[in-house]
């Protein structure tokens, strides 16, 4: 079982390395969305610093979810998702392996990008740090919620936009808590409660997310 977990993860990572554009596009997307915001609001530095965390969160959210959807869609079209569903190993575990691979190859680069984005938007003092810490929890949360939506809508003609409609309501609490953390920090308040709530959500989804995704995937992949 552990072997299968590593095998799926290694296979996915190899594929990401072979197709580096899959990793680069979300990265560029994030950079560009934030730049467009920074340029169009650039005259007003105070405003930019205030709305900055929300912009970064939303840019990263969209980049992550769309990249995950693209990858699952490709797996669906090549039939490797069917293989996963048919394999004798527990499906939630294999999906978790795929999610971990996605996190390592796309989530972590985005996490490392976030300080740069923070500087672009003029966040100062400890704010980039807090942003990074909350994103550390937020990115896996986005991946899991996004994967659930993608598993439900996979193989549908207008999948991408539908996916956004499905998952954005679930993403809202995560974004809200994440941006509040930064806001509390810059207001000099304690951000511990928000962080703990994010952590609670993370633990909850880590336990139940892969199971829910696998149930959704089984209904979508008919074999």
């Amino acid at each position: 079982m552990r072997h299968a977990f590593w095998a799926v993860m290694r296979g996915d990572i190899t594929r990401y390395i072979q197709r580096l554009s899959d990793c680069l596009i979300p990265f560029l997307f994030c950079l560009m969305v934030v730049s467009v915001f920074a340029i169009s609001l650039g005259q007003n530095t105070a405003l930019l610093a205030k709305v900055g965390p929300a912009i970064i969160w939303i840019a990263i959210l969209l980049a992550l979810v769309w990249s995950l959807e693209g990858i699952l869609r490709m797996d669906y079209e090549t039939g490797s998702l069917e293989k996963l569903v048919l394999s004798p190993h527990p499906l939630p575990l294999l999906l978790l392996a795929k999610l971990v691979a996605h996190w390592l190859m796309i989530g972590v680069p985005l996490l490392l990008l976030s300080p740069l984005l923070a500087f672009m938007l003029g966040l100062t003092n400890g704010e980039p740090w807090i942003l990074g810490i909350t994103l550390l929890l937020g990115i896996p949360l986005f991946s899991m919620i996004g994967a659930l939506g993608a598993a439900l809508s996979i193989g549908l003609p207008q999948g991408g936009v539908l996916l956004a409609i499905l998952v954005l309501p679930w993403m809202l609490p995560v974004v809200l808590l994440g941006t509040r953390c930064v806001a509390a920090m810059s207001a000099g308040l304690s951000f511990k409660p928000e962080l703990l709530l994010l952590l609670a959500m993370f633990v909850f989804l880590l336990a139940l997310g892969p199971v829910a995704i696998s149930v959704a995937l089984k209904t979508s992949v008919s074999c």
Binding site: P157, L166, P169, W170, L177, R180, A212, T219
Partner: protein, 241 residues
């Protein structure tokens, strides 16, 4: 005994029996809905006393509160039906969820619009990002996602299962959104909103309100019966052809 009971439920859920049942109940439910709505509207608009703070504006309550209440109640119906469908594969539960979603979305929209119209004279603003308003809006988005997913999937079986999973995940989402916003709003901008004093409501105001809530509920059941009937017929027709 237990066996008899379960077989009874399965029989009740069979298309033929449920069609006949929906058909028989429809006129009764419809007339109860009509009477309750008529009573609620007339008593609410003409006989309920004027509110000492809000004047006649408070009469918006007779549309707004029932719609908001039903929007949540119908989502709970969808949630329960989805759980039943996923566990026992009873088709009727899926039809029920499917037919309810459209009605629930409409009630949510009514609640939002009537709330905005009520908020303008009372709070001085159409919209505020308060916990209740935000969670109602998210509820509308959840309904939209549910309907969108259902209409996007052609295959009946897959559409039913995927929508059921979505509904269950959505049910978890509503309270989380509500509390995360409520907390956020109370920490940063609490005092500005929804602070009009609410006197314990007078009986002459209360009974029409209860009548309207029940009337909205029976109206929902009426539409549900009509839609269930047509869904069941459609399914039979598809099976035959």
């Amino acid at each position: 005994m237990l066996k008899y009971k379960t077989s009874y439920f399965y029989r009740l859920a069979s298309p033929k029996v449920s069609y006949v049942l929906a058909d028989r109940l429809l006129p009764w439910i419809a007339s109860v809905a009509g009477i309750l709505l008529l009573y609620g509207v007339i008593a609410g608009l003409f006989f309920a006393p004027v509110d000492y703070q809000q004047g006649d504006g408070f009469r918006m309550i007779y549309i707004h509160v029932p719609a908001a209440f039903l929007s949540l109640a119908i989502y709970s119906v969808i949630f329960i039906s989805s759980v039943i469908y996923l566990i026992w594969h009873i088709k009727l539960a899926d039809f029920c969820a499917k037919s309810s979603a459209g009605i629930g979305a409409t009630y949510t929209l009514i609640a939002l619009i009537s709330g905005a119209l009520w908020g303008k004279p009372m709070w001085g603003t159409w919209w505020i990002w308060d916990a209740r308003l935000t969670s109602e809006l998210i509820l509308l988005f959840l309904y939209c996602g549910y309907l969108g997913l259902r209409s996007a999937i052609r295959d009946r079986e897959r559409s039913a299962k995927a929508a059921a999973i979505l509904a269950i995940a959505g049910m978890i989402d509503v309270p989380i959104v509500h509390f995360s916003v409520e907390w956020w709003a109370t920490l940063h901008q609490g005092a500005t909103l929804a602070k009009w004093a609410r006197p314990s409501i007078d009986n002459d105001m209360l009974y029409p309100l209860l009548g309207m809530i029940a009337g909205f509920g029976f109206f929902y059941l009426t539409i549900l019966c009509v839609r269930l009937r047509s869904d069941l017929l459609k399914r039979e027709w598809q099976l035959k052809s």
